[in-house]
Structure formats: structure tokens, C-alpha cells
């Protein structure tokens, strides 16, 4: 029993359309088949949600599954939990498994919060005694002490989700499957959920976690599987997986931006690379938020460009763009000959919270006002400050000395009143 979960070249197909909901449909379908019209439709309407996917998770490890919508992530979880059965391959699950595929799937609006905890707990495979023992913890975790005897139909969506997750978080299975349920609730609750998952993994639970929140996945998981159109696109460490995923998904959108398919134009500029350099000229993978950084872009131009501008966009691994720096907005354009050239952006610091950041390069021809080259968000840089700051920014700052304040001054009065 070496592994907790083995997904052995698993395939799963679905039929699209042609599902008979009533007997009348069945009769007409069979008639059409008799007349020889249905056979072709059968194969055309098969859709492979997963194709030959292989992975293993050792006990006590955590696996993140990422991929674009429709990649087969949820299907994989449903196969693991036994809701669906695979059409090819083999699935091995060793241990008691609990799946959080939808928070509160087992809840009923007419029952009170308390009754729902028992019901939901039973749905998750807990015994009544187990639930009774953990009841106080569950209620405290949900933060719904005041409303626990109110029917759940009067709860807000967020409250329902909190109640559902609170119950689920207290199941202690050997293997826990979690499907994007953590996107509900406020920031504080999301944080608590993440903590709870980390706790479970530390306690020896095997975790399989589907998410779109890459940053969270990176914090929680040991390994990552990237799925794309039902196929295994990558398997490895979260950092590499994220880069792989982002470059793969962004590529698709990126190409449209600069290769003009209609006129058949080639990209004028190829971005050969982007290096991050420290003050001493050394290539940097990981920098302190307060040290100067140079981003050096290497380009190959297929033809001379009279008025070249370069933009570097940086986004956080988890999501949105937060920094866009274009040479043209500072009035800098270059007159560039054909061939390979290099241009650098100097930053006095990258004063942001610890984490992984990804950069994209865009190259413009300002005279024609067209984009002549673009890369996906694939140049990653790690910012690490050794846990000194929390929050989104890390700015240079200083504190004054402590000065005693004489009594009778305003500040003292206010402080006294408080």
C-alpha cells in the first residue's frame, strides 16, 4: 500500500446530447437507429473528459490540480470519489475518502443550522457521535453561533457555504478531495479554510485540491498536476507547474495579439529572453523587495524599426496585473537596426509582498502604432523578504525614537479617556 491514490491511465467519456429523458425520445431514437440514421451520431457525440491521465499521490502528500475550464479537473475528483466510473484505466484509493465537491450539497433549507450540521456530517461519512464531539468546534469555525437554530433557507449564500465547509473541515478522512470551495466566504474565512487544510495535511491526511487560485495552491500543495483538454499537460512542483500553466494558457491568447492571421504578417520582433539582474549584475531568481533590480530584455528584430518601444507588465501569480511600465510613456523610443539587441529597465526596488511574480514583454512600433511582439506571462521572479512584512507592499520605512509626552498635552488626554 505505497500510494494513497493512483490514477492509472484513466479515461472518461461523456455523451453530448442524445440522452433520453422520456420514453417518447427513446422510442423515436430506436426507430431512427433501426432506419440506420442514429449510428453515425453515436460516435460524433462522444466527448472525452479525461484521456489517459496518470498520477500518484503518496500518503500525507498534497496534490493540486489546475487547468483551464473544461480541462477535466472536477471529473477527476468525481472519478476518485466514486460518483462516476471511468471508461478506461484503473483507479486505486487506499483509505477513507471524503470529498468536498460542493459545500453544502447535503443541506436542506427547511432544517436549522444545527440539524444541517448533523445531516451534512452524515453525508460526509461522519458518525453521530463523531459529530457530537466536534459540534462546538464546528459551530465556532463557522462563526454562526447566533443563527445556529435558524432554518438555513434564511441564511445568505456565504453563511450557507461557511456552515457547509465548517462541517466538512472537521471530517478526518485519510484522503480529502477539495473542489474550489474556498472561493466562497470572506477573506478571513478563506484564510481559516486554508489553515485547516494545511493542518490536515500536517496531520497525515492526503489532500487533492482543485483550484483556480494559483497562489493558494502553491502555498498548500506539494505537487501539482496540470490538466488541459482532459490530458495530463504537466506534473511536478507547484512553481514549475504554475509557470507551465500560465505560459500554456496565455500563449493561446497572446498569439492573437500580434500575429495578424488575416494578412499573414510575421511577428517583426522576437523576444529572446528576459533576465532579472541584481545591482552587482548577477542574474537573480529571488530578490529582496528593497534591493534594486534590473530587467534586461533581449530582442531579435527581423527588420529595422525606427521608433521602437518596449513595455514590461508584471502580475502576481495568483491573478491581476499590478505593474505596467512602458518606455513610450516616459518618452523613450529606440531607433533599432535589424538583428539582436538588448534593452534594460531599471527599478530602484520591487517593493511587493513575498511571492512569485510573472512578467510579460510587449514590443511596439510607435510610428505605425502596432504591436510587433509579445510574450506570455512567463518570466517569473520570486520576491522574498524573510517574513519581515505582511500585506501587499514592502516599502522602505523607519521608526522614530520613543519620546515621553508631558501630561496635560492633548495626546495624553485622549489616551487616558480611551
Amino acid at each position: 500500500m505505497a500510494v494513497a491514490v493512483r490514477f492509472d491511465h484513466v479515461s472518461k467519456k461523456f455523451r453530448t446530447g442524445e440522452i433520453h429523458d422520456s420514453l417518447r425520445d427513446l422510442v423515436s431514437f430506436q426507430l431512427r437507429r433501426l432506419l440506420g440514421k442514429g449510428a453515425a451520431q453515436e460516435s460524433a457525440s462522444t466527448f472525452w473528459a479525461l484521456r489517459d491521465v496518470f498520477f500518484e499521490v503518496e500518503p500525507g502528500k498534497s496534490l493540486g490540480i489546475i487547468g483551464p475550464n473544461g480541462a477535466g479537473k472536477s471529473t477527476a475528483l468525481k472519478l476518485l470519489s466514486g460518483i462516476l466510473r471511468c471508461d478506461g484505466g484503473r483507479i486505486e484509493v487506499n483509505g477513507r475518502l471524503a470529498a468536498l465537491i460542493e459545500v453544502g450539497a447535503g443541506m436542506h433549507g427547511d432544517l436549522t443550522g444545527m440539524e444541517n450540521i448533523y445531516l451534512n456530517g452524515a453525508v460526509m461519512g461522519m458518525t453521530r457521535r463523531e459529530i457530537r464531539q466536534k459540534l462546538d468546534d464546528i459551530i465556532a469555525f463557522s462563526g454562526l453561533e447566533r443563527f445556529i437554530d435558524t432554518p438555513v433557507k434564511r441564511y445568505s449564500t456565504g453563511m450557507q457555504a461557511r456552515l457547509g465547509f465548517a462541517t466538512a473541515a472537521h471530517v478526518s478522512p485519510d484522503i480529502l478531495l477539495v473542489d474550489e470551495v474556498l472561493s466562497v466566504g470572506d477573506a478571513a474565512f478563506r484564510h481559516r479554510c486554508e489553515q485547516r487544510m494545511t493542518e490536515l495535511v500536517r496531520g497525515g491526511t492526503t489532500l487533492i485540491f482543485v483550484t483556480h487560485n494559483l497562489e493558494q495552491m502553491r502555498r498548500v500543495c506539494d505537487q501539482t498536476l496540470v490538466l488541459d483538454h482532459g490530458k495530463r499537460a504537466f506534473f511536478g512542483t507547484p512553481e514549475t507547474a504554475v509557470e507551465h500553466y500560465l505560459s500554456a494558457t496565455m500563449n493561446v491568447q497572446g498569439t492573437v495579439g500580434y500575429t495578424d492571421h488575416q494578412s499573414g504578417h510575421q511577428a517583426v520582433a522576437d523576444v529572446l529572453g528576459l533576465d532579472y539582474l541584481r545591482g552587482d549584475g548577477q542574474t537573480a531568481v529571488c530578490v529582496d523587495p528593497l534591493e534594486p533590480v534590473q530587467a534586461s530584455v533581449k530582442l531579435r528584430l527581423h527588420e529595422p524599426v525606427e521608433s521602437l518601444a518596449v513595455t514590461i507588465n508584471i502580475r502576481h501569480m495568483g491573478g491581476e496585473l499590478f505593474l505596467s511600465m512602458g518606455s513610450q510613456s516616459q518618452g523613450v523610443t529606440y531607433s533599432a537596426p535589424a538583428g539582436v539587441c538588448e534593452v534594460s529597465l531599471n527599478l530602484p526596488a520591487l517593493p511587493v509582498a513575498s511571492g512569485t511574480y510573472l512578467a510579460q514583454v510587449r514590443v511596439w512600433d510607435m510610428r505605425k502604432s502596432v504591436l510587433i511582439g509579445e510574450t506570455p506571462y512567463k518570466f517569473s521572479i520570486q520576491v522574498e523578504d524573510g517574513g519581515k512584512t505582511t500585506g501587499m507592499l514592502a516599502l522602505p520605512h523607519g521608526w522614530s525614537d520613543l519620546r515621553p509626552v508631558e501630561s496635560g498635552m492633548r495626546g495624553a488626554v485622549v489616551a487616558g479617556a480611551a
Partner: protein
Amino acid sequence: MHSVACGSSALHELVRYRQLLVSLMWRDIRVRYKQSVLGMAWAIVMPLAMMLIFTFVFTRAVKVVGGMNLQMPYPLFAYIGLVPWAFFSTGLNGAVSSLVANRNLVTKVYFPREVFPLSSIGSAFADFCVAGTVLVALIAYFHTTTSWDFRPQPSLLFVPVVLFFQIMLTCGLGMLLAMANLFYRDVRQLFNVLIQLWMFLTCVVYPIPNDGSFWGVVVVCNPMTPIIKAYRDCIILGEIPHGGAFWTACGCSALIFFLGWYCFRKMSYRFAECI
């Protein structure tokens, strides 16, 4: 490891999830009587009301009961028929739509799918138990107010056996119907019509015609008829059901139960994608 086998592993799995079965049963009961003034009392009021209606129809309006040898007051006769029938029909009624109504759970959580029809039948069984207690009061009432005499007989101990076979029949049919309705929603509509017809083909409110006519044969071929007759025999007449009809019905029930369960297990892996 997941398996679709039937038999001991299926039973084992069901035992593992017994608490869920109880919880869902409890949910069905709670939800049915939520926001109602009479609440659980409806389980008594319904068969009593039906009893009064049939008593009125058969003894006042059409007066057909006079010629029948019931060996007990007609209201009692009707009540003993109506309570098990109500268990059977409401149990099946819940079971038919149980999978479809719990679509959310079927597609999102894994546990043995039998739990859905079985818990619906279980909640109907709770009503049956409540309504059954009223029978004691009814017997006492007719014993004291009319010339009819009730003597408790040892055959009363046979009632659980009858009940057991009725439960088997209900569960077997419940699983088959729930599954069929998942694939074809027409089943629910058909069921609503057929269950009405079935009630009149079962001697719920009148005795089995024993004139050997075609009608009598149809009535006896239906496993619910000997079962309901057996309740009356055991409770009131002090007879243990004898003869082939009852044991054939029991065999039928057991067969339907295992057949239903087997098919249900066989098909359950397709439920989530076909619902």
C-alpha cells in the same frame, strides 16, 4: 476501492452508511411536517379520514358491506387495510422521485445510492408506526361500544413477519422505480395513475371476492392482497396466514427485493451522469 458487486459487500457498505440512512430519513420526516400546525399528527389524521370516507361510502351511500362477512366492524376492517396501504403507497411515492429530488447529492457526493429510496420508505414507515398505535385505540373503542369482541391471540406475534415481507416488496419496487424514473421521467406520471388502480386491485377497503370470477383471480395474483389480508387475519381473527397465496406473495416480495437491489447496484454507476 469501488465495487459494484451485489451481496455481502453491498450490505457491508450499506451498514457503514446506516447513520446517513437514518439522517436522511429524519430529514424527510422533519421536512414533511415543518411549518405545519398538526405536524406528525397528520400521520394519524390521514388514514382516519380515509377510514371515515370509506365507511361513509360503503355503509351509508352504497351499502354494499351489509352482504359481506367481515367478522369485524367495517371501520376497523378499513383501517387495518388503509394503514399498511398508506405505508406502501407513500413509501413508493417518495422512492420514485428520491434520486431525482436529491440530484445535488447524487452528482456531488458518493455513498451507496440505495440510501435515497430506502430513506424515503423509512420515513413512510415512521408514519406507519404512528398510525399503527391508533389501531389499539380503535380496537378498544369497538370492543367496548359494540357487540363485537376482541380477544388478543398468539397470532399477533406473526405481524412482524408480514411486515417484513411488505417492507421487502416496498424496498424492491422502490429501488426499481427510483432507478427507472432517473432514466425516464415518465415513470413518475405512470406511477401516479397505476398506484390508484393498484389500490382497487388490492382488497384494501373490501374483502377478497371468493366467487371464483376473473376479478377474484386478478385480485389474488397481486402480492399486496395476501399481505393486507394477513394483517387482518393475525390481528383480529387470530389466524396465522395459511395457504399458498400468502407464501407466494412472500416469495414474490423477496424476489422483487433482490432483483431490484441487484439492478440498482448494477446501474448505480451511471446515475450521476444520466440524472
